[in-house]
């Protein structure tokens, strides 16, 4: 047994068995964040039915934490209303994973940005469905990556 695992058991579980890998054809919202230069790219696909997120899928290029946070994000958003989903923050994701090492917290931030980006895509296509985003983030490059 590994007494000093690099990640929590929950993170390892999501890494070993990621949920909802894939793409949604004709998705209602797609968010692509990060960039290959930084070593992290996340793509989140959401399908909306009524006011709920009926399905979510992801694709990620990145480390164990990046895969785990995007996998967890899809689990967290499925079945939620849009109003509930907009409240999901990077902290929600990190807590759901029983925590992340400090240097990997940016992966959870990226997952939050992926969700915001997917929702923004949906609202752009469906302006009448737009809801107030209490934690509206500007879409910016991950700030902590120096090159």
């Amino acid at each position: 047994m590994d007494k000093n695992p690099p990640y929590s058991e929950k993170v390892m579980e999501h890494f070993r068995n990621p949920r909802n890998v894939g793409e949604i054809e004709n998705a209602d919202g797609v968010g692509t964040v990060g960039n290959p230069t930084c070593g992290d790219v996340m793509q989140l696909f959401i399908k909306i039915e009524g006011d709920k997120i009926a399905d979510a899928k992801f694709k990620t290029f990145g480390c164990g934490a990046a895969i785990a946070t995007s996998s967890m994000m899809t689990e967290l958003v499925k079945g939620k209303t849009i109003e509930e989903a907009v409240k999901i923050s990077n902290k929600t994701v990190a807590e759901a994973l029983d925590g992340l090492p400090p240097i990997k917290m940016h992966c959870s931030v990226l997952a939050e940005e992926a969700l915001q980006s997917a929702l923004e895509d949906y609202f752009t296509k469906n302006p009448d469905k737009r809801v107030e985003l209490p934690r509206l983030k500007k879409h910016k490059e991950p700030k902590e990556h120096k090159h």
Partner: protein, 388 residues
């Protein structure tokens, strides 16, 4: 979690040889004397250290008086670079280094740059090899020091140090080489190389951690960095790491008996691993020179996937390797070596390094060839960058 370990990170460190551990033990217990003391148990230890020094000097074609014991390769590099730069600053302030040096060379050079020295980093080709002509072109009237590693730890490329040493000698410039990855792997002779300064680290050749050595050619001016007692002819104070020094000498003795055969055997396994992975995984390529390469180094870029996630998967199979990906480093920067050979950041992030060693068997190599391709495939299916 697998119980069986397939350790393929020998460039990071190696287990101490049992003969080394055995040779060291008495120096913790009954032969514990301080070698600087006047009485019998101190003098005995002093004699043992002298013998160790002779062995190490012989191995690299040096004189015993030209060997300084340090705590590690990093200390040796720091002492060499900062010590020789400061000692020769009346002659000039320009230093030339390759762009693929280890951080133990890069960081002291950054320190020197902050102190007013000018450092030129000479680029490498796509195989990571420095062209001696480029070193020559970079020389000015103020050049006092050239530093080029004997072989690169990440991609295994062996540098043309003999030609560079010759150029340095012709111009009266000090030549430093970090031989941490080559000693006990390929022949290292200070006159063949023409080195003034050469760094060694015991834990890379089945010796203990916490001890290294620096070769300093007679006549090479160098300022000490640790002051105190009279040890190492006042070039590096501090009570010696006696057991470490004895262990290091023993490791060299063991290596001298088996180095050639090991190199042949390990190079065969290296090539088997390279061929196996490149043939089974599409869109993968070898990083570093195909032939002028350390016998134990494999470094392969796998497109569309990231290194740390590959390593975690391999870890689950008991396979231990390393990566040039930013995600696994503390700085979030990808390997400067991989960037220097022209890889994009993205491809640098997807590179894995396997470094073989004495414990590596053909069966272990076959296991890696079997286990890694499905790992890459699975990660590619998850990757937004991969389109079938």
């Amino acid at each position: 979690m697998s119980e069986v370990m397939i350790y393929l990170d020998h460039a990071a460190t190696t287990p101490a040889d049992p003969a080394v551990v055995k040779a060291m033990e008495p120096y913790h217990s009954e032969k514990f004397g301080n070698p600087s003391t006047i009485y019998k148990i101190g003098r005995e230890v002093r004699a043992a250290i002298d013998e160790a020094r002779d062995k190490i000097a012989d191995f690299i074609g040096a004189d015993s008086s030209e060997i300084i014991f340090t705590s590690c390769g990093t200390e040796s590099d720091n002492l060499a670079l900062i010590g020789s730069a400061f000692a020769n600053e009346n002659k000039g302030n320009h230093i030339i280094a390759s762009s693929v040096e280890h951080h133990a060379v890069i960081e002291p050079l950054k320190f020197l740059a902050r102190r007013g020295f000018e450092v030129t980093h000479v680029p490498v080709d796509e195989f990571g090899e420095v062209d001696p002509a480029d070193i020559k072109k970079a020389i000015t009237g103020k050049t006092i020091l050239i530093s080029v590693m004997h072989a690169n730890n990440e991609i295994g490329t062996i540098q043309p140090v003999t030609e560079i040493g010759q150029i340095a000698k012709e111009r009266g410039i000090i030549f430093h080489t970090d031989a941490v990855q080559t000693i006990c792997s390929v022949p290292v002779n200070v006159d063949d190389i023409g080195a003034n300064l050469l760094a060694i680290s015991a834990h890379k050749f089945y010796g203990p951690k916490g001890v290294g050595a620096l070769y300093v050619r007679k006549g090479t001016k160098m300022v000490a960095h640790i002051y105190g007692g009279e040890q190492e002819r006042r070039r590096r104070a501090g009570t010696e790491n006696v057991s470490g020094i004895i262990g290091m000498a023993k490791a060299i003795e063991v290596a001298s008996g088996r180095m050639e055969n090991d190199a042949v055997r390990i190079a065969m396994l290296r090539d088997k691993l390279i061929d196996g992975l490149l043939s089974k995984v599409e869109e993968s390529h070898l990083n570093g020179h195909p032939t002028k390469r350390l016998p134990n180094n494999v470094n392969i870029a796998f497109r569309y996937v990231e290194g740390e996630s590959m390593l975690l998967n391999l870890d689950a199979h008991g396979i231990y390797a390393s990566t040039g990906s930013a995600c696994s480093s503390a700085t979030l920067e990808p390997s400067h070596v991989l960037l220097a050979i022209g890889l994009s950041h993205e491809v640098a992030h997807g590179s894995l390094r396997f470094t073989l060693g004495r414990s590596t068997t053909e069966s272990q190599i076959e296991t890696v060839i079997e286990k890694l391709p499905p790992v890459v495939e699975r990660l590619r299916m998850m990757s937004p960058l991969y389109k079938r």
